[in-house]
Symmetry: C2
Subunit: 368 residues, 2 copies
């Protein structure tokens, strides 16, 4: 593993919040950063040009989905994920662990790996740590993830077993990983149990990964439990490496995560909400199907500078929704992703100026 | 009617093919031109910026659909169709006639107008020539259409009755039309009967419309009948006014229409085919779902300069189709619309250079 490619420069620290630059083979990533999710090698309804225009710098794609369809060998044959989906900037793939445990059917876990049935056609497959790394090497993202077991967060006995398995699998991923142009991140598990989280953070951060992720949160636990776990873990993780909170993406959670030292976020929520007519703003959510918007000549958010808000009225967006026009999903996705991407950028500026606490409190106090 | 706004300058004639400029309040329209269809105030899956980038200069929207949803009064309240859908260039609305006769349920025609039930909710509505003009004045397109009766083209008795009604309605539309910033076009009907078509062209062109349309073609008749009808009608229509062939949009039909003196075309076909995985090229159609494309690293058309062909492989497009990703519809729509928009532009250049016949024959001879 050639670490020099993936230097992380901490530019400013404000309380526990951090502004940094993570260097990758596809460009420098300014943190904090929110990554749109392109599950099947596309951020749903958007072209790469639209993603660039809304300010996205990092895109995540899902190993489990791409392995099943179109196949990692096909993506490799087409020159890797960057070329396949034409996203020339930094990319991240997850390990498939989360999807195997949440989407796939009839999974059987043993110490060596997981056997599961595809949610698409019921065919049987097996992921091991080595296989998850091999697939991610074929996909070729800049940041790839160790294979982990994502357990239900409240069942202590299961959480502890899954955590130990995750640690053993992390070691095997490190040994299996050959490509020097990818940063392999380790994942901390441990449910909502502070002692397990602390243990996991120590074990994982002792393995020498170039970056660390916190997995198994935002899966149904209380917000306060999530924030407490982030604090426990980040007190252990080394400051000089990037920290990625997996699957988290609301205005509130981004601000609370950044305040506790998180650098990278991703979530399907902005695009999923968009396809269900819900617009995210710094003051809360807006159901654009509401008849109150039918004759509203204003944009979703007067202060927002995204293409959608610079161009279209709520009346037009509601018309598209009522008429079942796909453009509604596109335009609201642009807005929702811009909201989180821009929030992370504004947070970065506030950290650099030493006023992150005021910045975050000002937004959180105005949320409905 | 203030005609000066809508001057039509014939720049070049090559055989019967014409290159012109139609001046409108929202800019000069270079002809021949192909207009993408934005039925419900949106060209399906595309933003106005994407439409501009693919070279579209004229967009059509449907009076019947917008009248039912969101309502012409709402569009007017939002500043008209150009502002509502943010298309600042020339626009055209049809009269609602074709949709009333093809989409609406339980229609009853009398000499005064048509009573019909909405295909959306079954509610009862009535269109008269005066109503169709009133709605189109509320929508505010640059080019609007007289209300016509679009009959089945082979039943001579019905075609003749419908034609006479269309003539009477055209007179009433002219009298009802008040806005001076819109060009009202008359529509020639007459099915596949040369004598009726000639009669209709004489009557309609005698009324003083600033432009003329040929309706009731491309509705199931033989290609040769369609081409013959265009020839009969264009032999009568005055050369100094623009001619619009309604609802026609294939590579073959554009070339054959231009060769016979047509200036304006529109059709839903490019976007509808796109949503059914079919790509239009100058050499024929391509079903991108075909497994032959699964590992094809080439674009739809190596010679095409659209965003989709400059950027994505057939393998990627097929993956999006198989994975049921909406981006497939967007990217193929961009390609299909570009194919027809660019074909009309190339035809214009060929006419200006006096080599349209060679240009058209060269393409038609290579079609599969």
């Amino acid at each position: 593993m050639q670490r020099d490619l993936f230097t992380f420069d901490l530019e400013a620290v404000d309380g526990k919040a951090r502004a940094g630059i993570f260097h990758t083979p596809h460009g420098d990533l300014e943190t904090p950063v929110f990554a749109p999710v392109g599950t099947q090698a596309t951020v749903k309804t958007l072209t790469p040009v639209q993603l660039e225009e809304l300010g996205a710098t990092l895109v995540l794609s899902n190993t489990y989905h791409l392995y099943l369809r179109p196949g990692a060998d096909l993506v490799a044959e087409m020159g890797g994920l960057h070329r396949f989906m034409q996203w020339p900037h930094p990319m991240l793939t997850d390990s498939g662990g989360f999807q195997v445990f949440s989407l796939a059917e009839m999974r059987k876990v043993d110490e060596d790996g997981v056997t599961f049935k595809s949610h698409i056609d019921g065919s049987t497959h097996r992921f091991t740590p080595e296989k998850a790394v091999e697939i991610q090497e074929q996909l070729g993202a800049d940041i790839i993830m160790a294979f982990d077991e994502c357990s239900e967060p409240h069942d202590r006995a299961y959480v502890e077993r899954a955590m130990h398995r995750t640690h053993a699998w992390a070691e095997r991923c490190l040994r299996a990983h050959k490509r020097t142009d990818q940063a392999l991140f380790g994942i901390v598990q441990g449910g909502i149990f502070p002692d397990l989280r602390e243990n996991s953070a120590r074990v994982i951060s002792g393995m020498g990964f170039p970056g660390h992720a916190i997995g198994g949160l935002s899966v149904g636990e209380e917000k306060n439990d999530m924030y407490a776990m982030i604090e426990v873990v980040n007190a252990v993780l080394p400051v000089e490496k990037p920290r990625y909170l997996m699957g988290v993406g609301t205005v509130e959670d981004l601000l609370n995560g950044i305040a506790r030292g998180i650098d990278i976020f991703d979530c399907v929520l902005p695009t999923r909400l968009a396809r269900h007519q819900s617009a995210m703003t710094r003051r809360g959510r807006l159901n654009l199907l509401n008849v109150a918007h039918a004759r509203n000549p204003h944009p979703i958010d007067e202060t927002c500078r995204c293409y959608t808000c610079r161009t279209f009225t709520r009346a037009y967006l509601r018309h598209l929704i009522v008429a079942k026009e796909m453009l509604a999903g596109t335009l609201i996705s642009i807005h929702n992703l811009y909201t989180l991407v821009e929030l992370a950028k504004d947070a970065r500026r506030a950290i650099q100026q030493g006023c992150f606490t005021d910045f975050a409190e000002n937004i959180l106090s105005q949320m409905e």
